[in-house]
Symmetry: C2
Subunit: 422 residues, 2 copies
Amino acid sequence: MDIEAYMQQLGANARTASRAMARAGTDTKNQALHAIAEVLDGERQPLAMANKRDMDNARKNGLEAALLDRLELTSGRIDGMIEGLEQVAALPDPVGEISDMNYRPSGIQVGKMRVPLGVVGIIYESRPNVTVEAASLCLKSGNATILRGGSEAIHSNQAIATCIKRGLQSAGLTGDAVQVIETTDRAAVGKLVTMSEFVDVIVPRGGKGLIERISREARVPVIKHLHGVCHVYIDGQADLDKAHNIAFNAKTHRYGVCNAMETLLVAESVAESILPSLAASYTEAGVNMRGCEAAKNIIITTGFPCEAASEDDWHEEYLAHVLAIRVVKGVDAAIEHINMYGSQHTDAIVTENYSIGRRFLNEVDSSSVMINASTRFADGFEYGLGAEIGISTDKIHARGPVGLDGLTSQKYIVLGDGHIRE
Amino acid sequence: MDIEAYMQQLGANARTASRAMARAGTDTKNQALHAIAEVLDGERQPLAMANKRDMDNARKNGLEAALLDRLELTSGRIDGMIEGLEQVAALPDPVGEISDMNYRPSGIQVGKMRVPLGVVGIIYESRPNVTVEAASLCLKSGNATILRGGSEAIHSNQAIATCIKRGLQSAGLTGDAVQVIETTDRAAVGKLVTMSEFVDVIVPRGGKGLIERISREARVPVIKHLHGVCHVYIDGQADLDKAHNIAFNAKTHRYGVCNAMETLLVAESVAESILPSLAASYTEAGVNMRGCEAAKNIIITTGFPCEAASEDDWHEEYLAHVLAIRVVKGVDAAIEHINMYGSQHTDAIVTENYSIGRRFLNEVDSSSVMINASTRFADGFEYGLGAEIGISTDKIHARGPVGLDGLTSQKYIVLGDGHIRE
């Protein structure tokens, strides 16, 4: 297979399809979403067979259990895909929204119109359900998509791609609106992220290594979610009950997620009041604590285990039953720590003090900044976006949870009546 | 000079300064802008001397007249810089603007806060007045800036940099908020556009060659303005008086600007009615026409000169007294031509037909799309942005004229009362 020529063709198809998708009406796009759901429902048998091939190969190759679990297309996951399609169909269509129309002194009327980005390339791990999720969000936002899932899922993804194509065509849309790369050759990714004539943006979903590599190679803009080193800072004027609940929830509600707290910062004035009870809760939940000198002393004195944190711990995204704890002087030191060691993902303060809360909100440079709420709320669904293609830790374009709007841009529109510039 | 270490230091300084700038109040930033204006006003003599060194060198090196003109810091240009600073001070501060705050079913309140991008790198040609213009916009939007002007302007830029630093410091801000690169070594640019740990976005201003090179080398997101191949399409249902005025204004109001029309498209049903009078006006204005077969026939038959356009002409940004003209079947062909040959900058239709206008507005994929108005209106000041750092032909982040808002991003803010995720 000539990867270069193959990808070039995929790109050209996508560019052409993107023009048709930009013109497609809301109703047509929703019909396609419903149709894809129907086809998937009718093709459960072939989907299961394709997935079995992938699962068998993966087991043969010794894929670890957690990854095998993600690869599996259970009947429940197919239900989930179908439900997701219906949910995306029910979301408002962002395309064509006109805002800020104002008359200017020259007499022209100027405003903005929301339009699709064009062609979106999505690179993700071996999770077949992501194929449908990503395709549906791009479809609804009027984009053409080129999808590249992990190589272990190749047969599942091809089977899903066939269903998507049939659904698109039955709604009168071109099957090229969603293309799944048919080769597992790594060179295809290299080409995808550099075809700036055909691809408008790349959304990589996956581990830090994957995303760093793609950012390095890309010539196309990347909406990236690098990692989540999230903090909760318990201020000296925190309500200690709220502080306990939030600090416990942010760490223990789920461990393997990017919006879980990785470092707890505690003001020195309340460290002795709050750390003993928190240490008890964490220990009970099986969380291993790594503290700065002061934190460690308090925790160990209380009778709970705590290791010494090293400089590296402040940078770490554990995604596990591990928590770094640091006692800081106050809000200034907390903000400084977060801006220095954090990953600009999600950070929260617990405080009852108005001015301190306001400062934290203004000065912490992260995609989500919270007062008296768990970092676990940083999520497209919790924020009311209705869906989420990822969480961006970038500063330009979309920041934080990225929904349908993040897959669009705004162009200027100007209405005149023969106006010329004098 | 160790360029690597020098740039590393500049980057670290800028990152630190960006935190202070993000915290700076509107009043402080405005004070700094006024103070810089005052210092510039008081330092006219040293500025003129520094500029004379640059001008002398440039003449010795045989710089062409147009570039010498841009390099010169006349007294009028210094007035213009001062006036620009006062204007930016008068603009509303975008930083801290909170929007879309809504309660979610979970009880948290979610919205967005506008924040500075952080560190903005600006690379531009040998135009010293741009140093002040770029610095002032970044300052007002709460960013730290690293500026790299063309090497011919090095002494002028250093003199201006000293004034800016004094102004910043007199308002209590750090002089590192605006740093002008002190070396003309090209390696400094290579380093600037790859220091993603210190620089959040690069804005290159200048010729297509410069921008393409920077886009190729950059590891930092680039807000780029590539080129402007702008079209006016005169529809079969155009008001021919409006069409004449707009098509003439869009080409002849100014030639060397990116929003000037480069290709005129005319519906075949009105080509014979409108092209003769337009050809007369263009010929009188000294515009050389290059037409497709049909356009050329009409123009030559009328008695005006017209060369044959080649395929290359449809791609060309002349920035000169040259115009490509093509007769097309109707709005479909016009949209197809624009989306194929255009540069997604600015395109206009002249029509009285509601449905045709609406289609053009929806389907032309450019940063500014206009009905019955001259492409020359695509400009930050005409759009009411108050200022303009450039015009983006990119699709993500900022599209079209980029003002203060384009130098900011929005982070999510969440207000709770001890809320945790269940």
